[in-house]
Symmetry: C2
Subunit: 517 residues, 2 copies
Amino acid sequence: MSNLSPRRSKRPGRGGAEPTPAPPPITPGMVGGQYQPLTGSEMERIHQLVLRLLEDLGLSQVTPSLEQRAIAAGCRVDEDGRLRFPRALVEDVIARTRRRFTLHGLDPVHDLEIGGRRVHAGTGGAAPTIMDFETGRYRESTVADLYDIARLVDRLDNIHWYHRSVVARDTDTILDLDINTTYACLSGTTKSIAVSYTDGNSVRAVQPMLDMVAGGEGRFRERPFCTAVCCHVVPPMRFATESCDALEAAVLAGMPILLVAAGQAGATAPAALAGAVAQACAEVLAGLILCNIIDPNCRGIFAAWPFVSDLRTGAMSGGSGEQALLSAACAQMAGFYDLPNSVPAGMTDSKLPDAQAGGEKGYTISLAAHAGATMIHECAGMQGSLMGTAFESYVLDNDLLGAVLRTVKGVEVSEDALSFEAIRDVVMGAGHFLGHPQTFARMKTDYLYPEIADRRSISEWQDAGATDAREVARGRVRQLLADHYPRHISDSVDARLRERYNIVLPKARMRAGNGIW
Amino acid sequence: MSNLSPRRSKRPGRGGAEPTPAPPPITPGMVGGQYQPLTGSEMERIHQLVLRLLEDLGLSQVTPSLEQRAIAAGCRVDEDGRLRFPRALVEDVIARTRRRFTLHGLDPVHDLEIGGRRVHAGTGGAAPTIMDFETGRYRESTVADLYDIARLVDRLDNIHWYHRSVVARDTDTILDLDINTTYACLSGTTKSIAVSYTDGNSVRAVQPMLDMVAGGEGRFRERPFCTAVCCHVVPPMRFATESCDALEAAVLAGMPILLVAAGQAGATAPAALAGAVAQACAEVLAGLILCNIIDPNCRGIFAAWPFVSDLRTGAMSGGSGEQALLSAACAQMAGFYDLPNSVPAGMTDSKLPDAQAGGEKGYTISLAAHAGATMIHECAGMQGSLMGTAFESYVLDNDLLGAVLRTVKGVEVSEDALSFEAIRDVVMGAGHFLGHPQTFARMKTDYLYPEIADRRSISEWQDAGATDAREVARGRVRQLLADHYPRHISDSVDARLRERYNIVLPKARMRAGNGIW
């Protein structure tokens, strides 16, 4: 865990000997919540339904181990074998569960303080395909793709973590998939990572890897930088057996747990949006209660992720206005519970990084952010309603996220910002603000400059070849992936990992000049 | 004014003999305001600065006619010749100005009720260039472009009005420009139109045209379907003489007035966003006070439109996060005053309808809408920071606006929408919501289906040719422009218009089969 990037000096309060730099226009964890799609009484009404669903309907198919723990904690199993959660237990767990924690990066510079409507953004997903960078056609994604995306994300400031966004299709077994996914993510970035583990066995299998990278046995637990993504339910209102097994193992291993309930409105959740929100909240709380029963100090992340169906076809529509509402409403419900949380946004239905993709990402991400989501997942790189990803999109979405986060920063209203003196100076004097000292002072603190977005005049742009954003992003991808091979895992640790595990990614692939990029 | 489109039957409460249709998922004028970037005390603080700017600094260069009226109403002219507005007068005008009015379409089906955080969206702007549909290169825009864009807008449901978005460069005089702009807009759509008139002379020159189209002398005033866009100030804090002259004539003609103050933060307004908001609000109120002095029953629209400079170059950046904040904050200030209002959004810096354009439009428009802007201008068709427009963009933006408006509609929280019974039915029964009666019932009322956005699977899309959104939009443009030649102005009225005015657009250009599209 060396190789601390030049980014470090950009963060406030982390500077070295140099004079205190001006605060940057955006930082991870700025406070959202200024968009409130639901009223207070509407949230209360949804909450009452959540309690009713957990108490009167419950969830089926809990694992024997968790059933035993749950009964000991006050749950009951009904005549249909459904685990019911008394409303007092639900309220108690909501009241006492952990509200704030650090989501650790491999490098502490990437630590994130999760909770309290502090907004962060990053990847997520389980796309089975990727748009081939050379041919432009979708193909099965691989371990090498996972690693390359990790390296991209490592250099994109507005993507705050790397939760695996594609499923590697080139491993022989499920266990190898989980192991190689963990390895590829860890090797490509020092940001916080996440993997969806198939079962408890997978979780236990990677624990030595996490410890070795952390510096020795038991060290991972001190700074858990790998989150377990647990889709612990199969909506509606049924536990997913293997994932519950993974959940239990992950909590015991001290991993943060992303508790995902991803019903699809009109298919596995009600078509009525309020019902889909309530069902997802109930399903997530069921998982959170189990986590808390296992370990009251667990790091659970409330991830109510209801998706949308296009009701003409039944297909998922991640880019719809309805999706933007579902995610914003779930962020608000999580805020109502004051729980560290996640919602999905940026899941365009478009297969290309085009105008449709940009628009759908623009409104879904901005509404999720302003609703105060503490973690916005899937908001970089995804295409085709989560079924694909594209390298260019990470770079493009990083720009978009910057602008959205700038809006979360908000408008400073202070005596200086109100500018009466500046206006009077200019009106009675030079007639122009460009040369005014206030303008210089605000230039770096109040204004964010994008990397990809083209702000040139029409004629300059036309004379320079009239490229579109995707083409510019492609250039940036090539440059980053040719240059940036993180070296935070030492050769000796890597050699021990390769000895212990069946690592698919060739060592030679992890060096500049490998001929790939 | 015949040719009432099939759209009519889609509007609620306007159906004929057929059974009451299900309410559509979106309608013009849904209520926004759930995004509040400023706190109550921040708005109060900005308001206090607005009053101070008007009272202590005032505006220079008012016209003699308006100066006389203003002094009679209680203003004073200071030793520097600046018109000062006593704070009591400002507060009085804010209190008594018209808060709600109908913005008429040529066809009443397009009438809009303006005021009270009811959100509407439409075109605007003064782009001097357009991307040529065949060559893809920007060229000077023409009267024919104005007409063609009008025809497009006429068929795009989520663009609620057609305020001229390009400047025709093919007229000989300024007067001919204003006359031909009015004619091209009126001829191409039955939605409400707007034109920026150069001076009072222009306004008076088009009045007979407006009356003739409305059905006779004095008829326009009964249903004023043409708004005058008045950039009545040259920021900072100076009146624009000719536009003030146009303003006076337009108010006297009974036209709605869009009172635009378009300072550019860092150039003609403070770089600090709060100051830019306050200055714009003060400048707009100065115009609104003048309108109210001329006619207390005027239809003024509060259009505080501060723009953003990229402070590295001084160039405008319409697509920035800072712009999204400025527009949202101005919408909120207008809501604080409870005035019919407008903000700009969707002004991408990109020259193409690409991922950058989509993203920038996505977040700027959604935040303006949720801040409760009653009119969002420039939100369809604009490219290159308002310096260009593109036919495809109108079609693409119509789709985007639909989705954003769907989010403004919000989440219905009712006993049926909460869905306890539906969830119980499915959990204890079929296990799936697709066949549930609630799903069928919600399919048309809760879900909006886009025209352009591609929701197919990756393989279906790839097999069908892997087109991007722009290509799909191009097909739709071609189809609409080849087919749709509105006929609401009769041949006899048109002949009289051509007799009286120097109309540039050939009659033959205004018929299907003209070989252009």
